[in-house]
Amino acid sequence: MAYKESFLPSLSKWDPEESSEGSIDPLGHYPIAENLAEHLATGIRQRQSHPRMLTCMAVGAIICSDFEEDVLTRDGITEPWQIYEWYVVEGLVRSFDGNDLSGLPGLDKVRRANKEKIPVSAKTYLKTPGTFGFHGVYRVLAENLGIIRDSRISETGVNLVIAWEKEQHMNGFYNGSEGPGVEKRKLIKKAIIDSLQSGKVERPAGWNGWEFIATYLAPYKFGGNEAEILANALTNRKNPLRAEIINFVISNRAQKIWEKSESERDIHSALISNGSSPEMRSLLAAIQSYESFSRLIDDAFNFSLHIMTKKRGKTSVSELAKSSAVKTAAKNVPGIYKQVVNSLAPLSLATQFEHTFGVFVQELSPSDWVALLIEHHRKIQKNKPPGGKAAWIEQDIDGGLVVRPQYRIDEPPEQSEEYVHYYRTRPITDFFRDLGRIKT
């Protein structure tokens, strides 16, 4: 509903947080896990799923190279690349249904704007588009692969656009000389110019630019050379660990494991036993020990939230200490702590780990340990940017603990040996499925 339309009452919609990866991290695990994942698969992010967005960015960088650096919409908010993104997402939304576009950033916002017949604009699109739009989500990878640099086209990007141009019969698109590509480039550029004036998408349903986007920039419609360039860039020797993990994940053996269990721990164990490089073995050992540590304290925290939820009132530390998850963590964490420090040292992450989790080296009773865990959580929340966040657990005047309503856990958490964090197996699988290197 456009709120301008009426003053009729409404029920509230379930509106889960649209947060950047790791912003909800009550125990401060995420930065080290992210660092490990970055070592393993540089540039790849968990929320990425369609490598064609890299081609879209390269094509957009060519179109936007016609604009001066400081050009913005009249309201001073939006840059040309952002407007290009609105058009791409709207073009895809107009032509494909949700399943074809799953994982496309901005999908819901654009679909909603279309449904309400409101043009896509900074107000109707994502709240922080530079982070949550597809340029934001894929920017680090695009820069790492040499597709763009500071929003301008870079070497791999040029090769990508030339291959795309040839395979899509868009001659003239890149150098603007002559051919059907020249017209298409002008078509999109003109739309961006008009949107710079008004700050919103300025094309009706019948515009033939929509068809261009759907036909030539859709997620699955790779040409052979275009796919080859991206696959090579992702697996080239400049980044041997990324190449090694990708080559293994897309192998038949790994895919069978993935289809069966979707367990990254199993995938990594199989890679170690497969005769991986010494660097990879060392990295995977660090990941496995860090995840064992994370699992223990994560389970203890979640069970504590569940106990507080069930109690529906004040809970004491000694009540939390009775849970098996807390007892197991209190018993095992100090031992695993030392393993983690040793395994993170070669990656220069041991100091960061000790700085964040140093308190957990102590051997304590379950009651003292869970009190320490809650104090650790408070400290992590307090130090979150920009000015700290509230703790999930409040303490009453008599020391009783109460979970804040939005963090209640009604169902008992599932206990498993799985990793707490993600190490990119899913996006790698999605990428190479899109690129035709993994058969569905």
Partner: protein, 682 residues
């Protein structure tokens, strides 16, 4: 009732509508409260912030501070039990202190230059209220030629003014004065917005407020029922909380509103859980017992609400606690629907002497389909199923509130101020009702800044001035006393005014070059600062910014020309920016006196000018450029002549500054400066 519900995002209601104009200010009330959520999610949308705090804290802070500084005010008035949390001091957090009840109303007024919006509903300003729970709300929009009833806006502002008077104590504090200015501004801007008469409207809307001195909510509903000769025959109540105890006064009073002869029914939609052949209901049995006895044709029905939304599979199923509060009335002629903050309790409906402050909206119509989609249907229970009544105590009851450390009334106002002589100062106002052995600490530190003992030793002054060592003003103070046990109460600090607040670190002492780039660029400030930071990081990676091209080192003449050209260009660009309309006097102050304003440029010229002549010359050029500014007119904004007056005064200060520079060695330059300021002063 309706098959398909109307559902909307509450947070979307905080986004500015197209063509709303510049944000002017906002005022919101809540019972429970999350300051970080309010700042990042609600204010972030209201101000159209585009940076994300977890991605780039520096860019976010700069954008937030810049946009907040242009507002008349941004205020959250929160019940004293939940009024706490870290925040930017550019918005005010006011504790509502009410004896015998709580501030339970959830009302927000958002005002842009061409648009006013009121949000009234059941959701507190917390992530669970806005994102997770099942809540109900309505959004009233006011703008030129809108059809929204204007009386609702007037009554809401009157209600909020009264609430401040009833709950905030001293109304002469700077933060309260900002609220007063804001309400005046809303009234002035919206004078011609809205429909004064609702006579022919398909759906009519009325405010139903409850507070000490008001009629009860049920009486107000009764008075607004459009068919006074034909009372409603059926009522449907949805509430997560009810009175506990043997007698249920709200239910008894509800029956009095329904028709007194013939068939009538009262349905309660309640939460609960079915286990085999029994259902545990989150409601007291007294709601059944309230049914009139000895009268045929009356019926009390219990329906069960589903607290899970989405499909019945694990992936899409979401647990959504029911927190909405509604009363639906109907007969053969029409319908009335109350939504808002009032639980079905005596305090919530204003039936007790001790009552809460509540805000609701009542809609009346004879078109069922206009209101029914906002009603949450329950499921009728099988008659054979065994009912187990479980009384759930509301969060606003004394029993629940007793666990929270409440700031004693004697701790009145805490105001942050700052001046160039003393630095940051806290003005702490203390009254009589203070506990024994209290102490006040800066948050998160062990630094005690005032104790009961030291206060008594200095003669119990009402106003206590505390000099702060740190340059960062605290968002609140931690107050403890032995009777509060482990807990500490939070004493919110508000700023004297925006000008006393320090700028973000990244904007402190920007170089002349940086300021010139900022003034000359069309990009938003936070984007430019991010660019500076990237550039500095690259310089560090590249081994410092030392020039390594030998040809560039000797090309000094080109450097001077380029510098002068760049400065002239920046002055022109600055003029263009100054010509943009001003929605508030605060936004003009920011452009003149803020950390990247004209005054900052003057300081940078003083600091970095390469000679006295250059300094005087640049000040004169700046004065000349300011004299050429032709201010634009914003809708409901500052008048161009007022802006020009302020600029003229600014030019005078430049003139004084330039005249003070020794130019005896360069008489031509001195004459030029004099002539320029004469020209600029015309």
């Amino acid at each position: 009732m309706s098959e398909e519900n109307r559902e909307n995002s509450l947070l979307d209601a905080w986004k500015s509508p197209p063509e709303a104009g510049a944000p002017i200010g906002c005022f919101a009330t809540s019972f429970t409260f999350d300051s970080v959520f309010f700042e990042e999610e609600c204010l972030g949308r209201f101000l159209d912030l585009e940076s994300d705090p977890s991605e780039s804290a520096a860019a976010y802070i700069i954008e937030r501070e810049e946009k907040l500084s242009g507002l008349v005010c941004a205020v959250a008035l929160v019940d004293q039990h939940h009024c706490r949390g870290g925040r930017s001091l550019r918005w005010d957090l006011l504790p509502a202190r009410l004896r015998g009840g709580v501030l339970h109303a959830k009302v927000s007024i958002l005002h842009w230059a061409g648009y006013t919006r009121i949000i009234i509903g059941s959701a507190n300003l917390t992530p669970s209220g806005y994102r997770k729970n099942r809540e109900v709300f309505a959004v009233l929009n006011y703008y030129t030629e809108c059809e929204t009833p204007s009386i609702c806006l007037k009554e809401t502002i009157d209600f909020l003014r009264t609430t401040i008077e009833q709950t905030c104590g001293d109304v002469n504090t700077p933060s309260i004065q900002r609220c007063v200015d804001f309400f005046e501004r809303v009234v002035a801007d919206s004078r011609k917005w809205g429909e004064p008469e609702q006579g022919r409207a398909e759906v009519k809307a009325f405010t139903v407020f409850s507070a000490p001195g008001h009629q009860s909510v049920l009486n107000q509903i009764h008075d607004r029922w459009p068919y006074q000769q034909q009372p409603p025959c059926d009522a449907y109540v949805t509430s997560p909380f009810f009175d506990v105890g043997k007698e249920n006064r709200p239910a008894i009073e509800m029956w009095k509103i329904l028709r007194q002869r013939g068939n009538a029914s009262l349905t309660f939609n309640v939460c609960g859980e079915i286990n085999d052949n029994e259902v545990v209901l989150q409601a007291p049995k007294s709601i059944i017992n309230a049914q009139p006895t000895g009268r045929p044709g009356v019926e009390t029905i219990i329906e069960l609400l589903n607290e899970y939304s989405g499909q019945d599979d694990e992936i899409t199923k979401a647990y959504r606690p029911v927190h909405l509060k509604t009363i639906w009335l109907e007969n053969d002629y029409g319908y009335a629907y109350l939504i808002g903050s009032s639980n079905f309790t005596s305090k919530g409906l204003g039936l007790d002497k001790q009552r809460n402050i509540e805000a609701n909206l009542l809609f009346t119509t004879n078109r069922y389909n206009t209101l029914a989609p906002a009603y949450l249907n329950g499921k009728e229970l099988d008659e054979k199923i065994k009912k187990i009544w479980q009384e759930t105590i509301s969060d606003e009851t004394d029993e629940k509130l007793a666990g929270l450390a409440l700031l004693p009334d004697g701790f009145r106002n805490a105001v942050y101020s700052c001046d160039s002589v003393q630095g940051g100062t806290l003005l702490l106002e203390l009254g009589k009702d203070l506990p024994a052995d209290w102490q006040v600490k800066l948050p998160g530190s062990h630094e005690v800044i005032l104790t009961g003992v030291s206060w008594k030793a200095s003669g119990c002054p009402t106003t206590n001035r505390i000099l702060l060592k740190e340059s960062i003003p605290p968002a609140g103070l931690e107050v403890s006393w032995p009777a509060a046990g482990n807990a500490t109460a939070w004493w919110p600090v508000n700023a004297q005014c925006g000008a006393v607040l320090p700028p973000p670190d990244e904007l402190k002492s920007l170089s002349l070059d940086d300021l010139i780039e900022i003034l000359g660029s069309a990009r938003p400030l936070h984007q430019l600062i991010r660019r500076f930071q990237r550039r500095k990081a690259n310089d560090i990676v590249a081994g410092g910014s030392a020039e390594i091209d030998p040809h560039k080192r000797v090309d000094t003449s080109g450097f001077i020309i380029q510098r002068t050209r760049r400065i002239s260009w920046a002055f022109r660009a600055m003029r263009e920016k100054l010509e943009k309309p001003y929605a508030t006097k605060e936004s003009l102050d920011w452009r003149l006196y803020g950390p990247v304003g004209v005054q900052a440029l003057v300081h940078a010229i003083d600091r970095e000018g390469q000679s006295d002549s250059e300094r005087a010359f640049l000040l004169a050029e700046l004065g000349l450029e300011l004299s050429r500014v032709k201010p634009g007119q914003a809708l409901n904004g500052l008048r161009p002549e007022d802006v020009s007056e302020k600029l003229r005064n600014f030019i005078k200060t430049l003139d004084v500054r330039a005249q003070a520079i020794q130019l005896s060695d360069t008489p031509d330059m001195r004459d030029y400066i004099c002539n320029v300021f004469k020209e600029a002063g015309k």
